[in-house]
C-alpha cells in the first residue's frame, strides 16, 4: 500500500537540511549519553536506534502523507488498542511504578510515545477539511474528544509527563483553525486568574498531595526546600548545569555529577544536565540554536505546504517538539517541576527517537509534495 516512487525531483525536494540537522543532534546526544554512562552500552543502543529511526523516516517521507491522513481512524484505533493492552499486567511491563512499556523480548517500546502520531493525523483529518469560518463549539468538542481518549489511557499508566505532551497538539490545531483570538485571550486571562485560586483551593482541601506541593515549592525556592527529598533532584541538576560554567568541564568524567550518581536517570530525562556539565554555556546555546533552526525548518515546511492538512500536521508536530524541549530543559534548569518528559533527539530511548523521526518523516513528506500535482 505504501508505494515508494523515487525520482530525480524527489531527491531535489527532499529536505536534506532538516534530516542532517536531526541526525546531528542525535549524534551530539550520543556523545552525552556516553558521558553519562561510560561503562554501559546505552550509547551504542542509541546509535542502533538512530538507524532504525532513519529507515522509518525514509519510508514515511517517501509516502504521500495524505494516504496516512485518509487512514487516520485506523491508526488511531491501533494506537488506542496499544494503550489499552499496555495496561494489562503480563503484557505491559511495570518500571518505577509506571506500566507504560510493552516488552517484546528483543525490544521494549512505549506506546504513549507513538500514539502522538495517529492523534496528529486524526486532528489533521478532521480539521484539515473544515470549511472556512469561525471555529464552532462542536468542533472544539470533537478535538477535545480525539485527545481525551489517549490522555485518559496514559494517565491510567500513570504517566503524567507523557500525557502533558499531548496538549500542545490540540492547542496548536485549534489555534490554526481560526479559533477567535478573543477566546485565546480569554483562556490566557482565565488561566492567570484561576491557577492561583485553584492551587489555593487544592491545598486547602488537600486535593494537591504533599509530594506534589513539595515539587512546586522546590521550584519557587530550591535552596531552602527539603534538599533530601523532592528538592534533591532539582538541586543536583542545577549544580550539574552550573558546574559546567562557560566552557564545560570536559575530561573529568570520573568526578562528574552523573558518574558520581548525583543525577537520577542521567541518560534520559537529565541528559541536558549532563550536556550542560560537559559542554558548558557554549555547548548548551549551540544546542538551543540547533533546535531553533530545526523548528524554523519545520515552520518553513508548513508555509510551503500545498494544503491545510499539511499545515496542521507540521505545526502540531512543531508545537509538540517545542513544548517538550521547554518542559524538559525547564525541569533540568530548575524552574519547572520534575516530570518525566524526554528531550527530543537527545534522550536515550528507542521509542522517543523513533517517534520523533517518524514525525520528521511526515514533515518531509509534506514538503516534498508542496507542488500541487
Amino acid at each position: 500500500m505504501v508505494a515508494i516512487n523515487i525520482e530525480k525531483r524527489t531527491f531535489r525536494d527532499f529536505d536534506w537540511l532538516l534530516a542532517i540537522l536531526a541526525i546531528g543532534i542525535v549524534c551530539f546526544g550520543v556523545t552525552q549519553i556516553y558521558n553519562a554512562q561510560p561503562e554501559m552500552t546505552t550509547w551504542q543502543k542509541q546509535i542502533g536506534g538512530l538507524f532504525i529511526a532513519l529507515i522509518a523516516m525514509l519510508i514515511v517521507s517517501f509516502t504521500d502523507y495524505r494516504r496516512f491522513v485518509d487512514s487516520a481512524p485506523l491508526f488511531y484505533g491501533i494506537g488506542l488498542f496499544l494503550l489499552i493492552i499496555v495496561l494489562i499486567p503480563g503484557i505491559g511491563t511495570k518500571i518505577n511504578g509506571q506500566r507504560c512499556w510493552i516488552d517484546l523480548g528483543f525490544i521494549r517500546f512505549q506506546p504513549s510515545e507513538f500514539v502522538k502520531i495517529p492523534v496528529v493525523l486524526m486532528l489533521a483529518k478532521y480539521f484539515g477539511n473544515r470549511k472556512i469560518g469561525v471555529l464552532k463549539f462542536k468542533e472544539i468538542g470533537i478535538g477535545i474528544a480525539i485527545l481525551a481518549a489517549p490522555i485518559a489511557l496514559i494517565l491510567l499508566e500513570p504517566d503524567a509527563g507523557q500525557a502533558i505532551t499531548y496538549f500542545p497538539l490540540l492547542i496548536v490545531v485549534l489555534f490554526l483553525s481560526s479559533i477567535k483570538i478573543r477566546w485565546v485571550l480569554l483562556t490566557i486571562v482565565a488561566a492567570i486568574i484561576f491557577t492561583p485560586i485553584l492551587f489555593w483551593v487544592g491545598v486547602e482541601t488537600g486535593k494537591i498531595k504533599q509530594y506534589q506541593l513539595q515539587r512546586i515549592y522546590v521550584i519557587i525556592d530550591p535552596e531552602s526546600a527539603d534538599p533530601k527529598g523532592f528538592g534533591y533532584h532539582t538541586i543536583q541538576s542545577m549544580i550539574s548545569v552550573g558546574k559546567g560554567g562557560l566552557t564545560g568541564s570536559v575530561g573529568e568524567t570520573e568526578l562528574s555529577q552523573s558518574s558520581l550518581k548525583f543525577l537520577p536517570e542521567p541518560q534520559t530525562d537529565f541528559i541536558f544536565a549532563v550536556t550542560a556539565e560537559n559542554t558548558g554555556f557554549i555547548g548548551c546555546v549551540s544546542l538551543l540554536l540547533a533546535y531553533a533552526l530545526l523548528l524554523s525548518r519545520l515552520v518553513a515546511g508548513a508555509r510551503e505546504s500545498s494544503d491545510r492538512t499539511g499545515v496542521i500536521v507540521i505545526m502540531a508536530i512543531t508545537g509538540e517538539l517545542a513544548f517538550q524541549i521547554f518542559m524538559n530543559m525547564g525541569m533540568v534548569l530548575g524552574f519547572l517541576p520534575v516530570i518525566g518528559v524526554p528531550l527530543p533527539l537527545m534522550s536515550a530511548g528507542l521509542s522517543a527517537i523513533l517517534s520523533t523521526f517518524i514525525a520528521i518523516g511526515f514533515v518531509i513528506s509534506v514538503r516534498m509534495r508542496r507542488f500541487v500535482n
Binding site: 489555534f175 558546574k243 523548528l295 524554523s296 508545537g319 517545542a322 521547554f326 534548569l333
Partner: protein, 627 residues
Amino acid sequence: MKLADYSQNLGVRVSTIQVFAFLLLAALGVRLYYLQVVRGEYFSDKAENQRIRVIRVPAPRGAIFDRNGKLLVDSRSTYNITLTREPIKGINPVERIDVYADGLGLDRQYLTELLTWIKKQPEFETAVIKKTASIEDITWVEAHQLEYPELRVELQPQRVYPLGTSMAHVLGYVGEISPKQLLTPEFEKFRAGDIIGKGGLEQYYDETLRGSAGYRRVVVDSRGRVIDEIESVPPQAGQDLYTTIDLDLQVAAEEQLANSSTKRGTIIAMDPNNGEILAMASAPTFDPNAFVLHSSTPEGRKQINEYQNNANRPLLNRAIQGRYPPGSTWKIPMSVSGFQQDLITEENNSILCGGGITIGAKHTRCMGNHGMAPLRYAITKSCDGYYYRLGIKMGIDGLTKMVEEFGYDKPSGIDLPNEKTPRTPKYFRAAKEKAYGRWIDIESVFASIGQVTVEATPISMLRAVSSVASNGKLYVPHLLKEFKAMGAVGIKGELNYLPEKAAFGFQHPEPKEIKMTEKQHQIIVDGMKGAVAGGTAKKAAIGGFVIAGKTGTAQVAALGLDKGKNKDHAWFVSFAPADKPEIAIIGLIENSGFGGDNAAPAVRGVYQAYIAKRGLVGLDTQTLAVK
C-alpha cells in the same frame, strides 16, 4: 504565500506559534546564562564540596540462649574509629602512624600492618582502626576532624560473651573477616571489616545469626561530614538462637574439668533419645571476648598469641576435635558388633580370658584372669582377654564392618565447624597391610581394646554408646534447639523489602538403626550397670540412681613409661537411668591415669547436678516401675 488561500490570518497564526516557540527557547537561554555564567562558580564549589557515601548499618546479631532461656551471648552498642583511604589519597598513610598511635593509644606494629594494607586498597575502602573506642578517643577524633578527615566514628554492635571462658568452644567468637576469606566465593559479597562468626555456633550458624545489614546513602562534604541523607534502608536483625545446652549442667561439667588432676579433658552430656547436647565442656578453655574486644590493642594481641601458641591448645574443642585411643570404652560397640556378626549369641557369649593372649613370641596380658567369662562379666570387669579373642575372630573385615556400623569413618554431623573424623582400623588398614604384607592378628588384638589403630573423638564415643541407651538409634548430636522467628523489614513489594524469617529447629536426619535384640541389649546394659555397681566404675555410683557405664584407660606410652606427662588417658562413658535412659555422659581426662579413678568421679559430679535439677524421687519410682 499559499497560506493565504485558506484563511486570511493562517500565516499570521503560524508565525505566532513560531515566535512563541522562539520565546520559550530564549527563556531557556537566559536561564542557562544565569546558572552557568552568573552563578557558575557558586555551583562549581557546591559540586566540589559534595560526595556521596554509603554508610553500612550493621544488623544486630542474634543473641544465643541456653535451652531454658538463659542468656549466653549478646550484642551491645559500641563505637569504632574507622579510617577511609579517600581523604588522604595524596599521602602515604604510613606517615600517620605516630599521630594515630599517640592520639588513640594504638600499637605501632598493628598500625604499620593496617596502613600498609590500606595503602594498596581502592579510594573508598574503609578499615576499622580502633574498636570499642572510649569517650576520650571519640573526643579526640571529633576535635581533629579538620586535620584528619580520614577518621570517623561509627556505631557498631559489639558481641559480648558474659560467661567469659565458659562454653567458649561451643559458642565460638566473631571477628573481622580475614583478607584470605574475602577472596573465596563463599564471602564474595563481603567487605573488609565485616564481622563474621569464627568457630563454634557463631560460625556454623553465622548466616542466620548475622541478619542483613542495612545502609544509608548520604551526601558528605569535602571534609567527610554528612550534610544530607538520600536513602536509608534499615537492617534486619539476626535470629535468636536457643541451644540445647543446659547451662547448669554445663557449669557442672566445667567445674569437674577444672578440678581434675591435669585440668585437661572434656565432658559431654547428651539426651540419648534425640541427640540434643546438654553440656559440652572442653578444658583448657579461652575467653572469646579477647578476640572480639582486644584484637587492636597490644594486650589483646598478646593474649590471642598466647592462646595460639600454648602447648595445651586451649582453642581446641577436645569434644569434637581431639582424637584419643578410646581404650576399654571401645568394648561397648565391640560387644554390639560381636552379636551382630554372630561371633557371640544371647545363649553362648562366654569367651576365655586366659589372663591374656600369646601371639607368636609376644604375650599381651589382661589385668586379671577372668576364666571363661560371659559378656556381662567381661564388661563389668573390663576383661581384655575376652576382647582380644573376640577381635581376632572379627578380623580386619569384622572390625571395618563395626567401624562403618557406628559411623566412626565419618564425622558425627554435629552442628559445629571443623569436627574431626575418628581414625580406625579401616583408616589404618592400607598402611598396616603395606608394612606387614597383610593385616596381622596382633593389630586386631590391640584394636579390640581401642588401642594403636583406634583414635576416636569423644563425641563419636558418646554417640555410639548412646545408641545402646536408645535401644539401637544412632542420632546425630546437635546443639540447635530453635531459631526464633524475625519480623519483616520494609514495605512489601519494594526493592529493599526483607521478608519475615520463620522459626526453625534442627533438621533431624533419620537416626541410623543399630540392630540388636532386646536380650542382647539387656546383657550389655547389665554389664555396664555392674561396672558402676561393683566393677571398674564404682566411683561413679550414686545411691538410688542407676547408672550404666564403662571405663577406659587408654595407653599413651608403653608400659613402664606411662608416668607424668605420658600417663594414660582416663575415660568414662555412661547413661542413666540405666533402664530408661534420659541422659548420656562421657568424660575424658587427659593423662590422668585410671579411668575409674579420674573420669568416673568427674562424670558423677555432672550426674549429681542433673539429679539436683530433676529430683531423685521421680527417678526412683520410675526405675522401680520398670523393674
